[in-house]
Amino acid sequence: MNPKPSKFILGAWIIALLSLLSFPLRAQVADATLAGTVTDPASKVVPNAKIFIKNVVTRQSVETQTDSAGLYKLSNLVPGDYEVSVSAEGFSTNTTKVMIAAGTKQTLNLTLAGVLSLGDLGFSPAQTQGSAQDQARLNKRSHMLKIHQRIGLIDTVPLVATVILGAGAGGKSTSSTDRFAHLALGSVTGDLYFLSAYYAIRAPKIQGTETRGSIRLHKALAWIHGPGMILTPILGIMAFDQKSNGEKVHGIASAHGAVAIVTAAAYGASILSVSIKF
């Protein structure tokens, strides 16, 4: 065996081993903590203030918020130079720099800048402080109304088909197939309609909001197509039975077609009234 190659391999192994061993020494351990209190210029603690910390070298950033006592804590920070920004509703952003050493628990109390506050403008805390619950209510409202809108739009397809087939189902020369197709499509229309209506009715109401604009017409038309969507199938069933018994459609059932047309027209107008907007 040639001793030179074996020495070379041994040397390479040692270098590789040392390299592996040196990793923990060179790697920056994210074990530092920065914490503190955020206060306003009057030394009052500020809840929900946003703390944004950015490593000057790596540009990595972390964000947190103060709790109800104005306290914040950022853990697992890599040692280094950081830029710390604090901001909150009604105050201007304050930025400062801090050097974080490895394995330390540092305290950095921050004061929000701002000569003037929202209170100086005469706004009450109730006006200036929102809540996650209020936002969740708005989000739920928008979400439910979007579903209402989508189902409502989809419902126009069976609605139009039902109206078109209605001409064949109620005429002099009708077939039971036409009537059943009309009945089936009408049922789908009604089901989708009431599903869509459910999302509109159950969407959370936002207090203190006056109804303005085209939504007023949209809501007003619901007082036509809503009862129409109940009445139309009732009259339709009566007309269906009369036709199936070989009778001419008579009595109140003869209003089925007219009620359906008015309902469909009101429904179409209702969609159009809110279509050209977002």
């Binding site: 009604g90 003037l116 708005l138 006056e210 303005r212 604009g213 939504i215 977002f278």
Partner: protein, 175 residues
Amino acid sequence: MVFFLLLGIPIFAQTDSQWVLEQSTLTYHVTHPLHQVDGVSHAARGKGVCHAGQCDFLIAVPVKTFDSGDSNRDLHMLQVTRGGQFPMVTVRTRLPESASASATIHADLEIQFAGQTAKYDQVLFQQKSQGNEIRITGTIPAILTDFKIDPPSLLTVAVKNEMPVRVEMTWQRQK
């Protein structure tokens, strides 16, 4: 008497002055290929405090006071701009006291909106002085994504990211 009046001049000159927002019209403009929307608010309140030749201004307006003529759209805007959680838009700026004498102002604005802070540098405003009052007009070139707002959509097409806000304000100086 004249002596005391002369003595009084430097004292008055050092006295801090204040500016109070008397009237305002703020109008945001949203553009969609099918539609243009303007939302107007007259509910802004503002104050400016001057000291040592510098004036700090704060202007604030509740998000929900913007009226686009349709309450459903306004509530949708309130939702997308996170107005439930962050109900106010605030604008801060610092200007030299001497700025009130010129016809134009270039202001560095710090705007808090939708829980985010964005800075708009050197925004141009025109101003007209009349006695103790100053009328300021201009447009803030606001961008929705500066505030991490997803532009709302109509028929799956989103509105433009730019949402310029037209500002018309009348300020009154108070000693």
